[in-house]
């Protein structure tokens, strides 16, 4: 595989034409929060607005037809990127909504069932009884934790979680204990946004299947960074965001198996997700429309589709290989700095490029500040994964995350910045 031509890639990203903090080169190491956008994505979105803008699935005029075509072509293309069929891909505003959609399917099925209301065929899988169990892990992003806490609070189901090993991985030895006959869904991350560890899916899928539980994978940090093919994962749902993979803000994706999506009652309701509507009651469209109430974010879908084209041109295997090289380099560089402690796996096997660390005697806020003054943009805090900080007894971490526009110079800038923070604070 040819290495990425980062210089050429960078030229596609207008933001690298600017400097930060009095003329410093922008070293953007916060793609785990959101990625930068290439001109191809910005152009695609703009062209939609300038040439084809209309409310999709609503009009019979030429613009509405073109807009609908563009939107549905985007769906097909994005679905293809993860090896899926267009009809199994639901657009949401972000990954958070996508995960909530599944959590609320359980809530809504449970409530409608208890009142004898109409439910789609197969919805029994989403009906919770008091004491049924929901399983997450201790390394989840808040987006894959709080919706399940809330679901448990509202239904009497019980939230259980898989613990973590000291080196930042799911503790497989606890699966048998945590995943039981009462488990209705197992929802875990594909790659931790704080630790960088990549989940070994086979054992957890096997444990969930053995008890008939559904499996949701939070793919926010995997789909942008490695080849992902849903036909090989063995899970029922994956959720991710467009903005972390070169796409626009304001669009997320939920993929689900056809028959599982078909069994779910709607979440957000309104226009375009209906079959017939009477004042007394309504019936609903098939997926994916059932889950896309209101005028959708068509321009963003078109932008995300252009992002997919961009990534496909590079090739996701090449993206992963590039990040792997950077990860190795960062781990090596940081190991050489006294007082740096990596929170997460210390070697690069089964590991993505999210690298969190603490510096003895210095708070992450202060590390981040000095890095920022050197033009190095990292994130500090709990990274929306507070329980992980607790697990490793740190109040917060400094996190650097890498993407296709980062190179070895950026790795060096990070290491230099950490050294100057140490020097500045005398630690």
């Amino acid at each position: 595989m040819a290495p990425l031509d980062v210089t050429a890639i960078k030229r596609d990203f207008p933001i690298f034409n600017r400097t930060v903090r009095d003329g410093r080169r922008l070293v953007y190491l916060d793609s785990g929060a959101t990625s930068q956008k290439p001109v191809q994505v910005l152009d695609a979105e703009r062209e939609f607005y300038e040439k084809h803008n209309a409310a999709v699935h609503r009009g019979a005029h030429q613009l509405a037809e073109e807009a609908t075509d563009a939107f549905e072509h985007a769906r097909l293309n994005i679905a293809g990127f993860i090896g899926a069929k267009a009809d199994d891909l639901v657009f949401t505003k972000n990954a958070t909504e996508a995960i909530n959609l599944v959590a609320y399917s359980f809530l809504n099925a449970t409530l409608k069932f208890s009142r004898g209301k109409d439910l789609p065929d197969g919805a029994e899988r989403f009906v919770l009884a008091e004491g049924d169990e929901i399983v997450v892990s201790e390394m989840e992003h808040h987006a894959n934790l709080i919706p399940w806490q809330e679901l448990a609070d509202k239904t009497g189901a019980v939230l259980r979680w898989i613990g973590l090993t000291d080196d930042g991985r799911l503790d497989e030895s606890t699966y048998a204990n945590v995943i039981t006959n009462r488990t209705k869904i197992v929802s875990v991350t594909h790659q931790s946004n704080l630790l960088g560890s990549v989940t070994d899916l086979a054992p957890i899928v096997k444990a969930a299947r053995a008890v008939g539980a559904l499996v949701l994978l939070d793919a926010c940090q995997s789909v942008p960074h490695m080849p992902v093919d849903v036909s090989e994962l063995g899970v029922d749902f994956i959720a991710w965001s467009g903005h972390k993979m070169l796409g626009p803000l304001g669009i997320g994706c939920l993929w689900g198996k056809s028959e599982i999506l078909a069994a779910m009652p709607p979440f957000i309701t309104g226009g375009s997700m209906i079959e017939t509507v009477h004042m007394e009651s309504s019936t609903f469209a098939l997926p994916p429309k059932r889950f896309e109430a209101g005028v959708p974010m068509a321009a963003q879908a078109v932008g995300l589709s252009a992002a997919v084209d961009y990534l496909n041109r590079i090739g996701m295997a090449a993206v992963a290989a590039h990040e792997h090289d950077l990860t190795q380099a960062v781990l090596r560089e940081l190991a050489e700095i006294d007082g740096v402690r990596i929170i997460g796996p210390k070697d690069s096997t089964n590991r993505g490029s999210a690298i969190s660390f603490v510096l003895d005697g210095l708070h992450p806020h202060d590390v981040g500040q000095i890095l920022d003054e050197n033009g190095v943009a990292v994130r500090v805090g709990h990274h929306c994964a507070w329980p992980v900080c607790r697990r490793y007894s740190v109040p917060a971490t400094t996190r650097a995350t890498f993407y296709i526009y980062n190179d070895m110079e950026d790795v060096q800038a990070l290491a230099d910045g950490i050294r100057s923070a140490k020097k500045f604070f005398g630690v």
Binding site: R58, G59, A60, E65, T68, D69, I274, E275, T276
Partner: protein, 142 residues
Amino acid sequence: MYQEIILDHYKHPHGKGLTEPFDAEVHHVNPTCGDEITLRVKTSADGLIAISYDNQGCSISQASASIMFDQINGVTFAAGEQAVDHLVLMLQREVSPDEDILGDGIALEGVAQYPARVKCALLAWMAWKDAAIQASSKGEAK
């Protein structure tokens, strides 16, 4: 799109009006525009399927129902299904129209250019397929 032959069927629809007895009845709706069709089928001992229907809607959906009646009233399930499938492919621009199969239905080819209208053209035919399948599964259940 609005060929003479389509306007003729629209203004003078063939076979409109529900009849009894029937083996299955379906009601299909196009949710974006409210076009509706009620369609009944009655299968004879030798497997030929008689159709009756009533509908309301736009010129395309009404003309298409009338054409459907001409083409597949009183044929076998296999023959009817072949016609439906051919129509679908034609409207997806995947086959060129075959007059032997679709009769006047080849005039609907222009609808393919207007994706929002494709559902109008398909409404009656999809209703037929649904009803025919229901009737045959009832037949089996007996």
